[in-house]
């Protein structure tokens, strides 16, 4: 009945709630090793296509971290990344591959940006933010319903269904922006929210309070998984759905609930972006956080608090990377290459450290047929 595929929990050893001292070095190797290896490989590739890797990386650091405005942009960028990561962690720990976050995010973003001007004109801003945040969460959650139902009812593999829904959501978001939510501007985009009605900035900065919201959400997810029976049930489901059934967990319902929660967090990410930075949404705009955030949550071993430094790294990489890529006349899709390699090196590092922990030789033994591979 249910699909036999490995669950995301099987990919990494989920970090225990408290890791004090012991294994810190190991954790560092597992987390930083892949990043360093990926950056080195990408540096080599940059050199091959005739760009100066040192200049490229120092541009990234300069624009994403050193320059005060860049640092503030990077911290601001962390808000959606953290929320998307939190959404993924909720689903992944339940053993559900919600890979459709792009559609969930974009559809929620379109609905929030489309209704924001009217909502914020009608009610006081803080109440409006709350309403719009809930709108985003509801829309994001609703877009997971079909995959969740198909998975819960028929055991239909959720990887493909969430991806399919993601493409549909992307198209639908564009249709909404070109249709009912089209603003007064000539290009297809929603009406712009008055900047004074956007989320407050932290005093003296350009960092909006959405970052705080994201940190609270991440902490809440951490708390749920480390302190509550609800989180425990999700973990049991993720570890072994059949065992979960046997200990009396209502598996179908829990699958749907975790999917809805996951989608709601994606929607909240969209609401925070729309109300914090942009104030409007243009058709065909797509930050495509989805697959790029996957490596981060695995590097953090599905631990919501541990995701924070990786989200910070990714934010610097993406803010600085846009500038560095422009200077090197490369597309900003270069970032995909870095992230893809991080993921590749992560599975390799994971494999090697696991092998060492079991006391096996790190290099694979040559088996018959190995040479032909």
């Amino acid at each position: 009945m249910t699909s036999p595929l490995t669950s995301p929990e099987a990919v990494v050893d989920v970090a225990p709630p408290t890791t004090r001292g012991a294994g810190l070095g190991d954790a560092l190797v597992r987390s930083l090793g892949p990043i360093v290896l990926a950056l080195i490989t990408c540096g080599a590739l940059l050199a091959i296509v005739g760009r100066d890797p040192v200049a490229f990386y120092s541009d990234i650091l300069q624009a994403g971290l050193v320059r005060p405005s860049g640092l503030q942009d990077s911290i601001t960028r962390m808000a959606p990344i953290l929320l998307v990561a939190a959404g993924m962690i909720v689903a992944f720990r339940a053993g559900m591959w919600n890979l459709g976050s792009d559609g969930q995010y974009l559809l929620a973003a379109a609905c929030v940006a489309g209704t924001a001007p009217n909502v914020l004109a009608a009610v006081p801003a803080p109440l409006g933010w709350l309403v719009l945040g809930l709108v985003g969460m509801a829309v994001g959650a609703s877009w997971t319903l079909v995959p969740a139902w198909l998975r819960a009812r028929y055991g239909l593999n959720e990887i493909v269904t969430t991806l399919m829904m993601s493409f549909v959501g992307t198209g639908l978001a564009n249709l909404l922006i070109k249709g009912p939510f089209d603003g007064p501007s000539t290009v297809p985009q929603t009406a712009v929210v008055d900047p004074s009605l956007l989320l407050f900035d932290l005093p003296g900065t350009r960092i909006h309070i959405g970052v705080i919201v994201a940190l609270i959400a991440v902490a809440a997810v951490y708390w749920v998984f480390s302190r509550t029976s609800f989180g425990m049930r999700i973990d049991v489901l993720g570890a072994n759905a059949r065992a979960a059934q046997h200990v009396g967990i209502r598996v179908s319902r829990l699958i749907i609930v975790t999917f809805l929660l996951s989608g709601a967090l994606m929607g909240l990410a969209a609401a925070v972006d729309m109300l914090g930075i942009f104030g409007y949404m243009r058709a065909d705009w797509n930050p495509a956080y989805g697959l790029k955030v996957v490596p981060l949550v695995f590097l953090a071993r599905l631990n919501a608090l541990a995701v924070i430094p990786f989200a910070a790294f990714f934010s610097v990489l993406s803010i600085g990377g846009e500038y560095a890529a422009r200077r090197a006349q490369l597309p900003s899709d270069f970032l995909l290459l870095v992230i893809g390699l991080v993921l590749t090196f992560m599975v390799v590092t994971q494999y090697l450290t696991d092998k060492r922990d079991r006391g096996e030789p790190i290099l694979p033994r040559r088996r018959a047929g190995m040479a032909r591979a």
Partner: protein, 311 residues
């Protein structure tokens, strides 16, 4: 209401659907083989994209469509070796490695395209077509339906071959056993790892070929992200096909039709927004999935690495 059943509309719909579906035919066929053997190839999208890019570059350099298609297939095959090494030999997670392949190839092809062709945007000449005698003389659809590049005919022949191999040969039996009960196959003295490796490599080559077709014959050029989710649709087709190779034809044709419907509707004066066009294939896949959900079935050992002696 304009008359929908004009010959122009039908031609655009059926022939357009056929042509637009061919990349998916190859990729879906490959994924059917891989999934039957127990490997879920999430990296299919990346393999198609790599095939599209390499195939395009090779055609541009040699001005020969066959070299281009061959190079695309080789590119897909080389990428599949990553899956073979990491997932089939070492038993690492197939989904994570698949996602890694997609991301890496998306980034790599975008960067390479920008560095090599970012200013020139070269295009290829139309691929030569071959008219099947007699059939191409049939009225209404005959002329356009049976005047296609040779690779299209080869694709349909290949589906028949694969269907026959899967159903009627011992290789096919071993392949399906590797997906259902790898331990039993191992006990029977057949190397599960080798069977799965071959299946995965065939899948990679077919995905690369499909991608190359998309760039060389279909679009005549390469643009970053040209596959636009086609690889994932191929996975859905394989899930619904349950090892029946002919389903790749049905799936590819349905997908192609939903793409060509727009062109066809435009011919009779109905304008469809581009977003609807891009959504339509995915909407139809979701609808099909909802209707046939209870029938979709995966091999029982799909996605689980087989390492002798573990468990």
């Amino acid at each position: 209401m304009p008359d929908l059943f004009t010959s122009g509309f039908l031609t655009a719909l059926v022939v357009g659907g056929l042509v637009a579906g061919v990349p998916l035919l190859f990729a879906g066929l490959g994924e059917i083989i891989a999934e039957a053997s127990g490997v879920l190839n999430v990296g299919l999208e990346g393999m198609m994209l790599a095939g599209a890019f390499i195939g395009f570059v090779a055609t541009l350099l040699t001005q020969n469509v066959w070299f281009g298609l061959g190079a695309g297939a080789v590119a897909g095959l080389l990428l599949s070796l990553v899956m073979v090494l990491f997932c089939i030999r070492l038993g690492l997670d197939q989904i994570v490695v698949g996602v890694a392949i997609v991301l890496t190839v998306e980034g790599a092809t975008a960067v390479l395209h920008a560095t090599l062709y970012g200013e020139s945007y070269p295009r290829l000449d139309a691929a030569p077509r071959f008219a099947i005698p007699f059939l191409s003389d049939l009225p209404v659809l005959g002329g356009s339906l049976f005047t296609q590049p040779v690779i299209v005919y080869l694709g349909f022949i290949l589906v028949g071959v694969v269907a026959w191999v899967l159903r009627n040969t011992s290789v096919g039996l071993h392949l399906r056993a590797a997906g259902e009960q790898p331990a039993s196959l191992d006990a029977a003295g057949v190397d599960v790892v080798r069977i799965r490796s071959v299946a995965e490599m065939v899948c990679g080559a077919l995905a690369g070929l499909g991608g190359a077709y998309l760039a060389i014959v279909g679009a005549g050029t390469f643009v970053p992200f040209v596959t636009n989710g086609m690889g994932f649709i191929a996975i859905v087709i394989a899930m619904l096909a349950r090892g029946r190779a002919w389903w790749s034809v049905i799936g590819a044709f349905l997908f192609g039709m939903s793409l060509s419907l727009t062109t066809a509707l435009q011919l009779v004066g109905i304008d469809v927004p581009v977003d609807v066009v891009q959504m339509l294939p995915f909407v139809s896949v979701i609808v099909v999935l909802v209707i046939f959900a209870r029938d979709a079935r995966l091999p029982s050992a799909l996605g689980l690495p087989y390492l002798r002696g573990s468990r």
